[in-house]
């Protein structure tokens, strides 16, 4: 039994890895761009999911994303910090902010936490606009194209970060963190009684989530070459972070990634076919998922489709 399980896991995984590594050679620049944008979204989705595992539903990831983006861009502009180091700096600064935010919102439950995260991102927009001497204000900050415009390098970088996120989530699932996060999510008071310190784990989840979200922001600023507050702190970014995991399946590794792939594909299709309000799909997806498949696509897969395959005799 042991060797056949490994075969089932490693073969598809190997094919997937080969495909991902060879991808830039297989497609043109347009698809490569779509892939980079898609992978960036996957990182945001997975990071959001890490935080959500502790029951903290953030609708303000844009705040951390924007901090990462601006840190990287401003450090380049002021001190010529190389972009990749800038992204790292962005990640670290976002993490630092998240510690602060995490402690501040500790006692907020459910929806009040979410509202506060929205307020956080919006407050940042206002602060940014009102302090142009420090932040560049409404005019934004521009940087030269990442890697001189070499999209392949950008792809490999962002792919590496995605791999890092996936690895971290996998490690979380293998460790005691998984139990702690789930217990806190299900019932924080009971978790406390069980000897799990909610503070420690909630802030930790926030930090991990913020690190990758901040890095993604830094990447975004150099890849897109120009950022303004209204774009990077935008609620739309925060919403995108949560629609994908919910669609694909919460609290899983594959869920956020799956959700992102499908939503991005649907989005691009809708954008090319219709002009208007393709964002309407986000709204519709959220409503339908909550009403009819609250465990997302993966839940649907495991609950309805997988059993169909299990009609074979025992394993």
């Amino acid at each position: 039994m042991g060797s056949s399980i490994r075969w089932k896991t490693t073969l598809p995984l190997a094919i997937l890895c080969a495909f991902l590594l060879l991808f830039p050679k297989l497609v043109g620049s347009y698809f490569l761009h779509l892939a980079v944008s898609g992978i960036l979204a996957m990182i945001l989705a997975s990071s959001w999911d890490i935080l959500a595992r502790t029951g903290q539903v953030s609708v303000g990831q844009a705040g951390l994303f924007g901090i990462g983006a601006y840190s990287s861009a401003l450090l380049y502009q002021r001190y010529a910090l190389p972009p990749v180091l800038g992204m790292l700096a962005g990640a670290l600064i976002a993490t630092f902010v998240s510690i602060f935010l995490g402690y501040l919102t500790l006692r907020l439950r459910g929806i009040y936490f979410s509202i506060t995260t929205i307020a956080f991102a919006e407050a940042l927009t206002v602060i940014w606009l009102m302090t142009p001497d420090i932040t560049g204000g409404a005019m934004g900050v521009s940087t030269p194209p990442l890697f001189g415009g070499d999209r392949e390098k950008a792809y490999y970088l962002i792919l590496a970060i995605l791999a890092a996120v996936v690895a971290v989530v996998w490690l979380i699932e293998q460790s005691r963190l998984n139990f702690a996060f789930t217990a806190i999510r299900e019932n924080e008071d009971v978790a406390n009684v069980l000897g799990i310190n909610p503070t420690k784990y909630k802030v930790l989840a926030f930090m991990i989530s913020a690190f990758f979200t901040g890095f993604a922001g830094g990447f975004y600023s150099h890849y897109n070459t120009y950022i303004i507050p209204y774009e990077v702190f935008n609620l739309g970014v925060s919403i995108a972070c949560l629609v994908m995991p919910i669609f694909g399946g919460l609290y899983t590794i594959a869920g956020p990634i799956l959700g992102t792939v499908l939503i991005k594909a649907i989005e691009e299709y809708l954008r090319v076919t219709f002009s208007y309000g393709h964002q309407i799909a986000y709204g519709l997806i959220l409503v339908l998922v909550v009403l009819f498949m609250p465990e997302g696509l993966l839940g649907l897969w495991r609950g309805k489709i997988l059993p169909l395959f299990r009609s074979r005799p025992g394993r």
Binding site: G55, V57, V59, L104, T105, R107, L108, R109, G110, I111, Y112, S114, I115, T116, I118, A119, F120, E122, A123, T125, V126, I127, L129, M130, I239, L242, I246, Y276, G277, Q279, I280, Y282, G283, L284, I285, L286, V287, V289, V290, L291, P294
Partner: protein, 292 residues
């Protein structure tokens, strides 16, 4: 001391508080009775505002009179929305409720964008821009009327909740679900009607928005963020709290706008700063929670 500016600031703050209060009332009702924060409340306001606009543009109905139509119209919309999206998730964890109403909000905003485009729509009446001179203070006639309507609305709501049977039932249900059921109140029906009434309230405030501002697909969302701030400031599910919160927000915005350098830029961010500050000091809001 520049008294005219001072009193003008107070007047501005109070008047805008009237609008904010009318938007928050429906939200408060739903939260109080059902324990759900309806993220899509702002979109119901937006629908009310658009209804007013279309009634005005196509049938020439005065925006303030059209309340007689938008209130029942939004009531019915509310019943419909409740039946198909809210009722199924009443017992779900708050995460689901948040996501559902958020999804509804996004859906309705984009639907409005598809149907009516993104241009801002204004109504203009014979009394638009008319202004009253009260002592040192200038007050727009439309603002004053809409303020009066908000006050009337609040009064009607309070009377309804305390004197009328359905209203009393709503209060009972909000305080003790099982107890209410035991004394024969149809809890489900009460929930449904409460949601309908809340949407009717949203519709009315939409008419007010259309009259003193203008409407566009995202107008409801911006106002609902302020309404959340007021909820948190004033106590959740509590009408007098909502009124107090509205005044606090309205006056703060007005004074910051007038007296703080570059205040016009900071004023719109007040609601967010207030939310963060209040929740840090008192995580359950200024007046405590009823439910989770």
């Amino acid at each position: 001391m520049d008294w005219p500016s001072f009193f003008q600031s107070i007047a501005n703050g109070v008047l805008i508080a009237g609008l904010y209060a009318s938007v928050t009332l429906g939200l408060t009702l739903v939260l109080g009775v059902m324990g759900i924060v309806n993220f899509a409340h702002g979109e119901l306001v937006m629908l009310g505002a658009y209804s007013t606009f279309w009634l005005f543009t196509m049938l020439g109905i005065d925006p303030l009179l059209s309340i007689a139509i938008t209130a029942p119209l939004l009531f019915l919309v509310g019943i419909f929305v409740y039946r198909f999206t809210i009722r199924p998730i009443l017992k779900d964890p708050p995460l689901n409720q948040l996501l559902l109403t958020l999804g509804l909000s996004i859906f309705l905003q984009n639907l409005a964008m598809i149907l009516w485009k993104t241009d801002s729509r204004s109504v203009i009446t014979s009394y638009s821009g008319m202004s009253l001179h009260l002592g040192m203070v200038h007050v727009g006639a439309t603002r004053l009327i809409t303020f009066a309507i908000s006050v009337a609305l609040t009064a009607v709501l309070i009377v309804f909740l305390h004197k009328m049977r359905l209203g009393k039932a709503m209060r009972a249900v909000s305080e003790n679900n099982t107890g209410s059921w035991l004394v024969g109140i149809n809890v489900q029906k009460t929930y449904m009607l409460a949601f309908g009434v809340a949407c009717a309230l949203a519709g009315v405030s939409g008419s007010l928005v259309s009259t003193i501002m203008y409407t566009y697909p995202m107008v409801g969302f911006k106002l609902s963020l302020k309404a959340f701030c007021i909820l948190i400031l004033g106590g959740l599910g509590n009408i007098s709290g909502a009124l107090l919160g509205s005044l606090v927000l309205g006056l703060t915005e007005s004074f910051v706008g007038t007296y703080v350098p570059e205040g016009s830029g900071w004023a719109e961010g007040i609601s967010f700063f207030l939310i963060i500050v209040v929740l840090i000091i008192k995580p359950t809001g200024l007046a405590g929670t009823r439910r989770e």
